[in-house]
Each structure stands twice: as C-alpha cells, then as structure tokens.
C-alpha cells in the first residue's frame, strides 16, 4: 500500500529504461572458472545440449537453458505433497513435444533437511549434488532442477566446489568409490527458467482466456537471493529490477500481474518451521504475504515457482480463518497455471485436489468446468478401485509425446 492510501497498480513501470554501461566490466562469472577446472583435470563439465535458448541474467551474462533432453531432478515436497506441480512440468514438456527423463536414479538434494536441521555438512551436501549430476551425465540428459531450494542449494555447492580444492578432492574420492566421475553441469538450470524460455510457445497454445485473471507473483528466496547473479532478469519485465521468471509467463498468457508492497519478502517456509514450528510460518505467510496481496492486489491466484513457497502460502491459510484473517486465495506453481491455460485437466494433471485453498473460483473465472472435470477424475478413480486399470497414465491425460522421444532410464 502506498503512503497516500492508494493501492498499488500493476507492475511498476518507469519512464527511464535501465541501460548497462558497455564499458563497465561484468562481474566475475563462475562458469569461466568451471571450465578452467575442467582444463586442469579437476572435473568433467557437462555441456548444455542443443537446442538451447540464451536468457538474460542479473548482471548481463547470457545463460543457456536447454529445451529438451533434460534429466528431471525432482522435488521431495512437490512429488510428495503437491504432485500436480511435478506432473504439470512433465505435461508441459510432453505438450511441446520435448524429450525428457524422469529418473529413479535420483536422490533428494537433501537441502530441506540441511537448512532445517544441519544434520549434514558441506562435504555430504556436495557429494549428494555431484552424485546426482553424475547420474544425469551417465544418461546423456542435462539436469533440470524442479525445486527452488535445490536450485539455490546447488548454486551454493557449485560456489564451494569451485573455491575449495580440498572439498573437490574429498567429493572426487567419494564418487570414485561409487564408480562415478566428478561432473559439473555447464549451467545449473531451474525449471522456471525453462518455462521462461518457452513462454511464447506456451502462450501460443493457450486455450482459456486469462485476460480477466489477476495474478500476484511470489518469487522464491532461494531462486534469486542465493548466488544472485545467476537468476533471470529481463529488461522487459520489471525494467530488469526484479527477477523475471513466473511474471514473464503469466504476462505472456495475458493475465494481469499486480504488484504488492511485500513482493521481496520470504514466504515464511523456514524449512524446520513449516514442519515443527508452524505458528511462525503461518503468521508470516498470512500477515506479510497473503493478507497484503489480498488487500492491495485482490488476486484470483498467487503464482510462485518453488515447492516450499507453494506449500507455505497454500497450507497456511486455513488456520488463519479462526482469527478472522483475510485469506482465501488459491496458490499454485506457474507450471500448473500455464498447463491449465493450455487445457490440462485440473485433476488428472494439475492435481488441484491436493491443494488447501479453494481453487474453484479461479477455474470458474477461467471458464473451466471443474464439476465436469472432477466427475471425469472420479470415474478414473473408480476404474482404479475396480481394478480395471492399475494407474492413471499419460495416455489417459492425452499429453502425447512421440514414443521415440520418451526415454525412461532407471
């Protein structure tokens, strides 16, 4: 809220456009050192496969985002508690005909536990990261990170491995015992960066009109506050002054993205707090984020791009009703929203029945008949109950990908 009592309106636009001074040297780019270490024999650098898109980052360095042949590094909290989030990411790839791998040879990044409990250390965290990178390298597919925490954590791990030779030596020895080489990807890529890269392809396949949908965006702390230079900043989005992911695809879909005064605030996830000290999490999420969004922007949906943020903002609203707090806005990932806009089934794909805050008004406003869709999903459930089919499949959700493109590697 502005000091004059007026509500904030839309994304701030400035008349002056920020232009980089071309003579000013860019800050050090860690990827140069990553390649130097490969030349020194320290590790193998897995290159970003073609085709890729170059995207702009905070200090001007272009970043390569692979379009396909990606090894999907899944998120515990997404797959476990908000499975429509992971499913929507896969569905978007299938709808765009882009090959990917959904591996079983993948561990959690273990970042949630690390930031919650510290029952780990730098060597273990680095070893877990590079074990996953080596697993991806063995398939020839390039890692695409689903979770914001994993992404920020792996950026940190990359910094530590680049800076500390002793840590590299330690994890190299561990990997050797596992029969794996030490591999560092050329880029560490978050799925929301892939969504940014293909946002116009997504928008071109939009079925439902989003022009009447008001969106507020919550950017994940671990996406842009950790290793700050490695995050997408686009001069056409927020004048390059805020990270562009999520907002970019919402805008491309024609939704109205509205600003609010606590945009930069954390959601209140807290890692340990969301599990065992939730009074803090829900107080912060409701008091600083949800109520502010509702009061200042009146969103139809809150979009974000991280597991913890979706969990926190979605699940914190129920208890606040007891205290007559102003809550009641649906929360989902931009992947789920994009998938809905493209015609994905709200239950078979976006799995909205796992969400706590009521999403039905949003679906109605988009023109999606949720009653009919729920009926279809209940019929799916009944077929599974009766034993007519064991699982819901990709064929059932009509997200075809040519068989030759789909590679399932254990």
């Amino acid at each position: 809220m502005h000091g004059d009592g007026k509500q904030a309106e839309g994304i701030p636009r400035k008349e002056r456009v920020f232009q980089r001074d071309p003579d000013l040297p860019l800050p050090e780019d860690i990827r140069e050192r990553v390649f130097e270490l490969e030349e020194e024999g320290e590790w193998i650098v897995q290159r970003v496969p073609e085709p890729y898109v170059e995207v702009p980052t905070k200090y001007g360095r272009p970043k390569k985002v692979p379009l396909q042949h990606t090894w999907h590094h899944k998120s515990c909290g997404q797959c476990g508690h908000i499975p429509g989030y992971s499913t929507a990411i896969f569905w978007l790839h299938r709808k765009l005909g882009l090959a990917y791998d959904d591996p079983k040879d993948q561990t959690s990044c273990t970042g949630w536990n690390y930031y919650a409990s510290a029952t780990s250390n730098a060597a273990a965290q680095a070893a877990v990261a590079v074990r996953n990178f080596a697993a991806a390298y063995a398939t020839g597919f390039f890692p695409l990170i689903h979770c914001g925490t994993s992404y920020g954590h792996y950026k940190e791990v990359r910094e530590e491995l680049v800076k500390h030779a002793e840590l590299r030596r330690q994890v190299r020895e561990i990997l050797a015992k596992l029969g794996k080489p030490l591999v560092m990807p050329e880029e560490i890529v978050h799925y929301s960066e892939w969504v940014y890269a293909v946002r116009h392809e997504i928008a071109a396949r939009r079925i439902y009109d989003c022009s009447a949908i008001t969106v507020t965006v919550h950017p994940a702390c671990h996406y842009y506050k950790l290793v700050q230079g490695d995050a997408i900043y686009d001069p056409d989005i927020y004048g390059g002054q805020r990270t562009a992911v999520v907002t970019a695809v919402a805008t491309a879909l024609g939704a109205q993205v509205k600003d609010y005064s606590t945009w930069f605030d954390c959601c209140g996830f807290g890692f340990r707090h969301i599990l065992v000290q939730r009074d803090f999490t829900r107080s912060f999420a409701v008091g600083r984020k949800i109520e502010t969004m509702i009061e200042e922007a009146k969103p139809d949906v809150v979009l974000t791009h991280d597991t913890g943020c979706v969990t926190t903002l979605d699940k914190s609203q129920f208890a606040a009703q007891v205290h007559n707090r102003k809550v009641g806005v649906p929360v989902m990932s931009e992947a789920q929203f994009a998938a809905l806009a493209m015609g994905a089934h709200p239950y078979r794909v976006c799995q909205l029945h796992w969400h706590a805050a009521d999403y039905r008004p949003l679906l109605e406003k988009m023109g999606i008949d949720w009653r009919e869709k729920w009926q279809e999903f209940e019929e799916d459930l009944e077929r599974i109950r009766r034993g007519e089919k064991e699982y819901l499949t990709w064929e059932d959700v009509e997200a075809e990908i040519p068989a030759r493109h789909f590679l399932q590697v254990s």
Binding site: K74, H81, Q106, V276, F280, Q351, Y391
Partner: protein, 235 residues
C-alpha cells in the same frame, strides 16, 4: 517489533570459557567462513529483510557483529539461543558488504549438532522422523506424512488426502510417483550410494551426537542394505 532485552549471558556462566572459545574457533575455521563474513557496518538491511526478526527476538546483524568482533561469550549465547530461529531464507544476503549471516548460522548449526549441544537436541525434537525419512529413503518428505493429526492446521485437505492416499497416488501419470512412503521411486542402487555418502562424510557421527536412538535405527537399516550390496562398514 518488540524491544529486545539484553542477552542473559549469565545463563552460560558455568560453561568454561575454553569450551566456548573452542566452539568459536570451530566455526571460524570452517572453510566457508571467509566467504560469509567480510565485516559488518551495522546498517541493519539484513534485519529489515529477515522474516524471523519480525516474530522472534532474533537479529542477523547481531550474528554477523558477534562473529566479526569475536565476542566469544555472546557467540556461545547465540549458539544456544538464537540460531534455530533463522528461516535460512538468505534474504540477509542482500547485505551491501556481501556478508551472509544465514550462511554463518548454517555453520554455527553444524557445529552445535556436531558437538551435541542440548539446545540443538531440543531444537530438533519432533523433527527426527524427517531425518529418518531423508537418511533412509532418499526423499525428505513423503505422501504418507500428510495425516490429519500431524497437520490439523492445514485444514480438511489433510484428512481427505490421508483417507484417499493410495488411490490418489495411483491416479498420477508420472510412473515414478505411485509411491506413498517416498516422494518418488528411488532405485536401490541409488539408496546404497546415498548411505555410503552419509557414512563417508561423517554425517552418521553428527546424528549420533543429537539423537542416539535415531542413530541406532538408521545404522540398522543402512547396514542391512549395504551388506546385501557387498559393502562392509568400518568399525
């Protein structure tokens, strides 16, 4: 924001100074320490950004100041009273000096766990099932953790999810996600490698310091798979 009372340093007067100094040096000697602390000029930008500072008697500025000034007494107090309030969001990384109070706290927490401080054990009470889940299964949370009695504040969706869990998990198109006890299906070879990482990096020793009972259970589970795969753990 509440007025902050001065820290009650006398609470730890019976702990020998040498012990406090030893723990301080353990933090300071971590290879990441110089990456996280360059010097603090007390601007308070970190406090303004910090979610925990709004609800707890907590200040990332004070963490950075204490370590920069090498105030061992105040460091020991913070090690026991403050570090578990941090949200680990790294909003404090907007520090104009490029300090990372959140990163300093990560190191302090590891030291607290490694040394089995009672405050660390208390902070992690009620969290042990999550440690078990990640150590043993390779994913940190699982669908079957959503139970109405565990998450009553999440609303009726918690009960509805628990009541329909197995069916709803079968109604997921991704083939790796038909699980209930793990977030996705993790291969046995992958788990073996994860167990070896925990052992080779000293993580099991850390867990033993904060929860001996959990440590025993973890060792039993891990040893069984590792022996099956032909790995013998050193005594």
């Amino acid at each position: 924001m509440a007025l902050h009372a001065p820290p009650k340093l006398e609470r730890y007067a019976d702990v020998p100074y040498e012990e406090k100094e030893r723990l301080f040096q353990e933090v300071k000697s971590d290879p990441r320490f110089p990456d996280y602390l360059y010097g603090c000029y007390e601007c308070g930008i970190c406090v303004a950004a910090c979610p925990s500072a709004r609800f707890y008697d907590f200040s990332p500025r004070k963490i950075a100041q204490t370590l920069a000034r090498e105030d061992v007494e105040l460091f020991y107090y913070q090690l026991n009273e403050d570090i578990w309030n941090c949200s680990q969001c790294f909003s404090c990384n907007r520090c104009p000096r490029q300090n990372s109070p959140g990163g300093l706290i990560t190191i302090m927490r590891e030291v607290a766990v490694r040394n089995g401080l009672r405050s660390a054990k208390e902070a992690l009470e009620g969290y042990s099932r999550v440690i078990y889940k990640i150590m043993v299964t390779g994913t940190q949370v699982s669908p079957d953790m959503i139970q109405a009695d565990a998450f009553p504040d999440w609303g009726p969706v918690a009960k509805e999810t628990a009541d329909n869990l197995e069916l709803w998990r079968k109604a997921l198109p991704p083939e790796t996600m038909h699980t209930t006890t793990t977030a996705w299906e993790v291969s046995e070879q992958t788990l073996t490698e994860l167990y070896l990482i925990w052992h080779m990096t000293g993580v099991m020793d850390m867990i033993k310091e904060v929860d001996e009972g959990l440590h025993m259970i973890l060792m039993d589970v891990m040893e069984e798979l590792l022996e099956e795969k032909g790995y013998a753990l050193a005594e």
